[in-house]
């Protein structure tokens, strides 16, 4: 009997251990949650949303970085590098402005001047910078076009930049992309592995979501409203869209949008309603989304075929969707494009 009792006691003890400790212990040792920190910043004439996982301090640093870059790149803030350059014809600029002017010029060159950092006076003449829209006369555009040439911006030694009188530099087409790249760099330096930023519609991600799944970035419906034209799944990329639907006005039954064709000085009549560029480098995606939009399908597709550093989703005005081969499978049409079958562009086809 003694033996039985002792066995009984031992079993009871083991039972106690299993029933009490194990479930209780498991309940408490939940997977360590990675905290999500978000912030909204109003800068560069737009709303910026920043989300980082795991480190609140980096969020503050990100806000400061954005403000700092805005003060350097703004065309209207009197103390900015670009303002000083435009008003004085030459200026010793910060490393960031120099770097961005340099990068911007490279993209201008690569697009054969479809992107031009000096198009500002024309954009202003159309009223897209102020909202006081008007259709400038042919002569006025002709005069202004003479002053549009990014090659006139000269990058000298030790941060010295010069520009001829009447020519105006504007980094608006690449500034948000560059800011995105700098933020990614900052987050990486802070040891963050997961972050998502939306700089006024320019979306850029670091890594994947904390659970390892891909980020889902919707592409706005170019017809306006709240719907989406589709969704792109990606990790660690910038997803930047240009469309004719954001800033536009109507006059005498004609719609004028804000993407200027640098060869005519008028809004680009390209046949696209939306162009999304997806790639590692935000500044390139930013500059190219506008340029590819202005180029129109034929040139834009050719441009992509000759490149290997970005992918794209194109939506034409006749509701066709073209995706580059690297985007095949990661893009899903939605909303009123749900039944549109994306046509795939390949590098080896003509």
């Amino acid at each position: 009997m003694k033996k039985i009792r002792s066995t009984f006691l031992i079993v009871q003890a083991i039972l106690l251990v299993f029933c009490c400790f194990l479930p209780g212990g498991c309940g408490r040792s939940e997977k360590e949650k990675i905290e999500k920190y978000s912030s909204v910043v109003f800068a560069m004439d737009t709303v910026m949303e920043i989300t980082v996982y795991g480190d609140e301090v980096s969020l503050k640093k990100a806000e400061n970085l954005i403000k700092d870059l805005e003060e350097k790149f703004s065309v209207t803030l009197e103390e900015s590098d670009i303002y000083r350059l435009n008003s004085e014809g030459s200026a010793s600029v910060s490393e960031d402005s120099y770097e961005l002017l340099n990068k911007g010029k490279e993209i201008c060159e690569r697009t054969g001047g479809v992107l031009d950092l000096t198009v500002y006076p024309i954009v202003r003449a159309w009223g897209f910078t102020t909202g006081e829209y008007r259709v400038p006369g042919e002569d006025e555009i002709g005069e202004l076009l003479k002053k549009v040439d990014y090659r006139q911006i000269t990058l000298g030694d030790e941060g010295l930049v010069t520009i001829p009188e009447g020519v105006m530099a504007d980094l608006g087409s690449v500034a948000k992309g560059y800011t995105g790249d700098r933020l990614m760099e900052l987050f990486r330096d802070c040891g963050i592995t997961s972050a998502l930023i939306n700089l006024g519609g320019n979306v850029q991600a670091l890594g994947t979501k904390p659970d390892g799944s891909l980020w889902k970035v919707a592409i706005a419906d170019p017809g306006g409203g709240e719907g989406y034209a589709g969704v792109v799944a990606m990790e660690g990329k910038a997803v930047i869209t240009s469309g004719a639907y954001e800033r536009f006005f109507e006059e005498n039954g004609h719609t004028y949008h804000h993407i200027i064709d640098t060869s005519t000085g008028c809004p680009a009549e390209s046949g696209f309603v939306s162009v999304t560029v997806i790639g590692e480098e935000g500044v390139l995606c930013d500059g190219l989304s506008t340029s590819l939009f202005a180029m129109g399908p034929e040139k834009a597709f050719e441009f992509w075929r000759e490149s290997n550093d970005f992918e794209a989703v194109f939506i034409t005005s006749d509701d066709r969707i073209f995706v580059t081969e690297g985007t095949e499978g990661s893009f899903t049409p939605l909303g009123r494009y749900k039944n549109v079958k994306p046509e795939v562009l390949r590098h080896d086809q003509n």
Binding site: K3, V11, K31, I219
Partner: protein
């Protein structure tokens, strides 16, 4: 001796049961406090109520009308609606699956469930 063996078998199986139970508790999905908002049977919004830190409101609208939904830590409620009967508002806040909030005129249902039902449809950001 036979008796001892019987005891061992009884407690052995109990032990196995306990271990199985522990394993199940350990592996089952956490949460179970997700509010899914359905409009006309389609889930349009999902929120993990246990993860809410600050309460907020959002509006769900369709051509039938609109409902303003308030989300708090652990609770969800309809605080405003342009439906004729206001039954949804009078349902107050819910925190469990016992009684979903329904707005029949707008065909809106808010249910507390285990999983996010709209998770796949909600993008992380919109590129424009």
């Amino acid at each position: 001796m036979i008796k001892t063996k019987t005891w061992i078998i009884i407690f052995g199986s109990l032990l196995a049961l306990c271990a199985g139970l522990s394993l199940w508790i350990f592996l089952k999905p956490t949460g179970g406090n997700v509010a899914n908002v359905y409009l006309d049977g389609k889930c349009v919004h999902s929120v993990d109520l246990s993860a809410v830190t600050e309460s907020y409101e959002f509006t769900v609208s369709s051509d039938r009308g609109m409902n303003v939904i308030r989300v708090e830590k652990g609770y969800i409620s309809v605080v405003d609606a342009d439906c004729p009967d206001k039954v949804c508002i009078h349902s107050g806040r819910i925190s469990d699956s016992a009684a979903p909030i329904c707005c029949l005129p707008h065909r809106l249902v808010i249910k507390i469930e285990k999983e996010m039902k709209a998770g796949d449809d909600v993008p992380d950001a919109v590129s424009k």
